[in-house]
């Protein structure tokens, strides 16, 4: 029987953590882009667009991420579309984060006083121009802390993809445990790595929040 040193365990976990980081980054960034589109629809003038976006958001917020993963990983092959664990993980996390980000940002946009819309309307700006030059620059400042805070949820959400066989940090921990029979050590280290990823994010979210609250000036 082969013996595993602590370094063997940690180094293998760290190698797998690269996939956790990559998946989180991609889901967050692409989810953010999709989220912007959903946000636009959610606050559009056309009622059917708003309803469609509302439905999209409720669908992803109202069902477990695990179900979304399963539906994409097991469901799409039924329709003749073969998806790899990697693709299923990426697609479901992206859709999931886009729905949450759109809803977070909608709250930020709606916190901008109505007078800002009216003033920019009276200056003959179109809806898109109002968003681009007046509303979004102001709501972005408010949006930074909750958005960074949500990125922690994305990182932790990637752990679920281990269930469909995508080898990231959690799946690697399971594989290593099966070989070493040292679950406490292995999962302990895995948890530490998650913490090392998430803690700086939530800490910076707090700091940003305090900074934006203190700053009365915009310069």
């Amino acid at each position: 029987m082969t013996a595993f040193s602590t370094w063997d365990i940690v180094s293998n976990l760290l190698l797998a953590a690269r996939w956790t980081v990559l998946l989180s980054l991609l889901a967050f960034v692409v989810g953010g882009v999709v989220g912007l589109v959903v946000l636009y629809a959610r606050i559009a003038r056309k009622a059917w667009l708003r309803r469609a976006a509302g439905l999209y958001i409720e669908l992803f917020q109202g069902t477990p991420l695990l179900m979304q993963l399963f539906l994409i990983f097991f469901g799409l092959p039924l329709m003749g579309l073969d998806v790899s664990p990697w693709a299923a993980a990426f697609v479901s996390l992206t859709l999931w984060s886009s729905a949450f980000l759109a809803e977070i940002w909608r709250g930020c946009v709606e916190s901008i006083p109505k007078g800002q819309w009216e003033a920019s309307s009276s200056l003959a700006m179109s809806f898109v121009e109002q968003l681009r030059y007046v509303i979004l620059p102001q709501s972005m400042r408010i949006a930074v802390p909750p958005t960074v805070g949500f990125s922690v949820q994305v990182v932790k959400g990637t752990a679920l993809t281990s269930i469909i066989g995508f080898v990231e940090l959690s799946k690697a921990a399971t594989i290593i445990t099966n070989a070493t029979f040292e679950p406490f050590t292995v999962y302990g280290f895995a948890a530490l790595i998650y913490f090392a990823l998430c803690w700086p994010l939530s800490k910076s979210s707090q700091i940003l929040e305090r900074k934006l609250n203190v700053a009365h000036h915009h310069h």
Partner: protein
């Protein structure tokens, strides 16, 4: 030939009809004060002229631009009438100068250089040339309102709508804003103002419109309206009954 033609305008909020058939023609260069109790529909009427409210019936035409709910018509209308608000509504993330420059650049595609020259001229006009780089939260209420006027003027409107523009100001700041409005009136700008400043209305306006329960109840030159009110409602409003 009138600049603004308001014909049989009706507007309801739910069951509550706030405008019950308004007719008003305003000539170029005319200065109009709209007075009346709160809830008489005066602010709503003003907001309709700029398309901030839709109308249920009737029509509003400003120099050939007709009020209609689609973006193309609204844009054409708003290029002709500017609006100043009670709460100033400056863009807090931009300096005073940038506030004035934004819309000409975005809507009219004016170059940054031209827009800056225009913004400096308009801020000078309201006596705030030296505040070009100040942010709104560094300005007093009166100064903010003057920047808002400069911002509206930079779009070169044919008429300005003023919605209780001094109501949110401390008493000692009211005059600096009214002085700017008076200067505009003297330069021939068409102005429609909803106001509680009766003395100012009397001094500066060509006609005063008294609104009551969604209708134009009395209308005429300030001397007539203020010194010889015809209806009991206006007498009561002016406190001379």
């Amino acid at each position: 030939m009138s600049l603004i033609t308001i014909t049989e305008v009706r507007k309801s909020f739910g069951q509550n009809e706030v405008l019950k058939g308004i007719n008003l023609d305003i000539a170029p260069g005319e200065v109009i004060a709209i007075i009346g109790k709160s809830g008489s529909g005066k602010s709503t009427l003003l907001r309709c002229v700029n398309g901030l409210e839709t109308i249920d019936d009737g029509s509003i035409v400003v120099a050939g631009a007709q009020l209609a709910p689609d973006e193309v018509h609204l844009r054409a209308l708003r290029l002709k009438v500017g609006m100043i608000f009670q709460g100033f509504n400056l863009f807090p993330h931009l300096t005073a100068g940038r506030n004035v420059m934004l819309s000409p650049m975005v809507v009219k595609k004016v170059s940054a250089k031209e827009a800056e020259a225009e913004a400096r001229a308009r801020l000078d006009q309201v006596g705030l040339g030296h505040k070009f780089d100040a942010y709104p939260d560094q300005l007093s209420g009166g100064q903010q309102q003057r920047v808002a006027i400069a911002r509206a003027l930079a779009m070169k409107p044919l008429a300005l709508l003023c919605d209780e523009i001094t109501s949110a100001l401390d008493p000692e700041l009211v005059n600096e804003v009214l002085a700017v409005v008076k200067a505009l009136a003297e330069q021939g700008m068409t102005l429609i103002m909803v106001t509680h400043e009766m003395r100012f209305a009397r001094e500066v306006c060509d006609r005063v419109v008294f609104m009551h329960q969604g209708r134009v109840h009395e209308i005429g030159p300030p001397e007539d309206v203020f010194t010889h009110p015809q209806t009991p409602e206006l007498k009561q409003f002016l406190g001379v009954a």
